[in-house]
Point group: C2
DNA sequence: TGCAGTACTGTCGCATCGGAAAGTGCCGAA
DNA sequence: TTCGGCACTTTCCGATGCGACAGTACTGCA
């Protein structure tokens, strides 16, 4: 489960630990958009992710109580992932951050290209 | 600068990349609380951080245009760090997330201790 | 018979992360 | 004259991240 810290100095620290995996923002976003997705669907939604990483990040999110994993013991195995209530509250709390990213990511990318050109 | 990705699939991805360093939430929080801090002060504020990591994370935040670095060429060198406008807007966007962390981190910690005991 | 799809699991190995610690140049205090 | 503080910088090295890839158990399709 993420770094699996035992304690946090502040809530922000905890939240970033939960959401800070390489693919977690994308997974959270995909589940937020779709509601419920199967493993294979998520693998296609989150382009570039390997099966191993997808599973690993899903397991961590599950351990943290962010996503719910429902297994249907059917002929071809079917597993559906969805956000828990906690996951939905997390996504709500992430909305302003996502908005900030949308608004400023081009500026940030520009800042990185030529340092000390961005407005202070 | 963080992972230094060249593009992002969504704003959330970008924001987590900017804020996802090990010590960055703590640094952001310290600067948010104090307004302006010197290097040595930050080192004491953010307990446990090594000088190397503190510098590194500060440099990344500076490259992303989140913190401002002001050097005073004085007898003992003095350097002051503060949030830029962009950094302040980031902190504003982070407030709900910090609140979420404060509200639920104990629940998350509990979820990790005994899996499948948290409410779905 | 063999290939594809489902949902994983396990191993290998490079690359990055990040902590410890020592070095740097300058200065004031003891 | 040595110590300590300031703000770094550099090196070493173990821990971790993460991608590539192969394997598993089952089934349906051709």
């Amino acid at each position: 489960m993420a770094k699996g810290k035992v304690s946090y100095s502040c809530g922000l620290d905890a939240a970033v630990d939960v959401v800070g995996g390489k693919w977690k923002p994308l997974i959270l976003w995909a589940l937020h958009e779709a509601g419920t997705r199967r493993f294979g669907e998520l693998r296609r939604d989150v382009s570039g992710v390997s099966e191993k990483m997808l599973i690993q990040q899903l397991r961590e999110l599950e351990a943290d109580g962010i996503v719910h994993r429902e297994v249907y013991r059917e002929v071809p195995p079917r597993v559906e992932y969805s956000l828990t209530g906690l996951g939905q509250s997390l996504n709500t709390a992430l909305l302003p951050l996502g908005q900030w990213g949308d608004d400023f990511m081009s500026q940030i990318l520009r800042n990185r290209e030529h340092p000390r050109t961005g407005p202070a």
